[in-house]
Symmetry: C2
DNA sequence: ATTTTATGTCAGCCTTGTTGACATTCCAAG
DNA sequence: CTTGGAATGTCAACAAGGCTGACATAAAAT
């Protein structure tokens, strides 16, 4: 504890935001904020007997229409068996449509149906509302810092996915 | 979508950071960053046959030594049955010690044992390392913004807990 | 004396993650 | 053309960690 508190830059300037105390506050901020982040969608999903796994699948299919199962797997970081169970119910319920690839017929291309888009909207509206309130309260500079720190916190492969989604806009 | 893009302040200034696109980037940043945030502790916990639930319990007991079960419950937001299962294994494994309260003998006060502190250190060192790298790369202003947005994103009750932990430092 | 609070525990259920095994389809390299 | 491997789907079994409901106990509070 003692030796890592109040670190110095080569220049000698004290970096107060890098003390163990500050880092721990950052850790706890992530924990408590993530709870808020998922709270609203979780409440909505209860009405549909779906869980977060369904939300994640719907989100990223909606974000990248026509994406393949494999791409979704690497974004979500779960096993194909886990994802498949979720996709199966979404397809059976008519929220997601799976089409065999034209060039490579092994691949399945995933798209939201009209009903799928409706749920996607309901979920992302709720999540965006909270994000909007937080962003507005914090202001543009804080939002920029928020994004900068989160990007720096990602694993390289996740950052790749994140950036790829950004550019696609 | 269209009507909520490019909102205006009373003054008339366009708030680019509140567009649906910006909000969605914020959502995805939270998702990918949280994965990184938990990745290192998760790897460590595998060696002990523990999960995130154990980590959370250890973290907050270490943060508030002598805390009661009820307080821990409201911080973690799980049922007493869920928490009890985790606490039972931690106590059985000699990482956590539960003492009957002196003033109110219904309460159990929880503390980390020496072995508990060792694991707490191992976990929080790993998590702080990642946070430190991210903070250093982003800089002090970004870190301040990061914390501001996360605090605004919390549910009020979670913010209460967050602030209470902050002040206790 | 009665009610409420704090805690523990048992049983059972659900979601969502895991591994392992196996089948199918089909591209691509030899 | 044959074969290897990639992409996908599916079945089975299992574990972690949520949940609810029910019940027990001790002690504080009324």
């Amino acid at each position: 504890m003692a030796e890592s508190t109040g670190p110095k830059r080569p220049g000698g300037e004290t970096l107060l935001f890098l003390t163990d105390e500050q880092l721990r506050k950052g850790i706890e901020a992530m924990f408590f904020a993530y709870r808020g982040f998922t709270a609203d969608p979780d409440r909505i999903l209860e009405n549909y007997a779906y869980g977060r796994a369904h939300h994640r699948a719907i989100h990223f299919i909606g974000r990248s229409p026509g994406t393949t199962v494999n791409n979704l797997l690497s974004i979500l970081g779960v096993t194909k068996q886990s994802l498949n169970r979720v996709l199966r119910t979404l397809i059976a319920d008519g929220l997601v449509e799976s089409r065999v690839g034209t060039r490579d017929k092994r691949e399945r291309h995933l798209n939201l149906t009209e009903a799928g888009w409706r749920l996607e909207r309901e979920l992302s509206d709720a999540q965006r509302d909270r994000m909007r309130v937080a962003f507005r309260a914090a202001g543009p500079e804080a939002v920029a810092g928020f994004r900068t720190v989160l990007e720096a916190m990602m694993d390289p492969e996740m950052r790749r996915h994140y950036v790829a989604l950004k550019e696609q806009s």
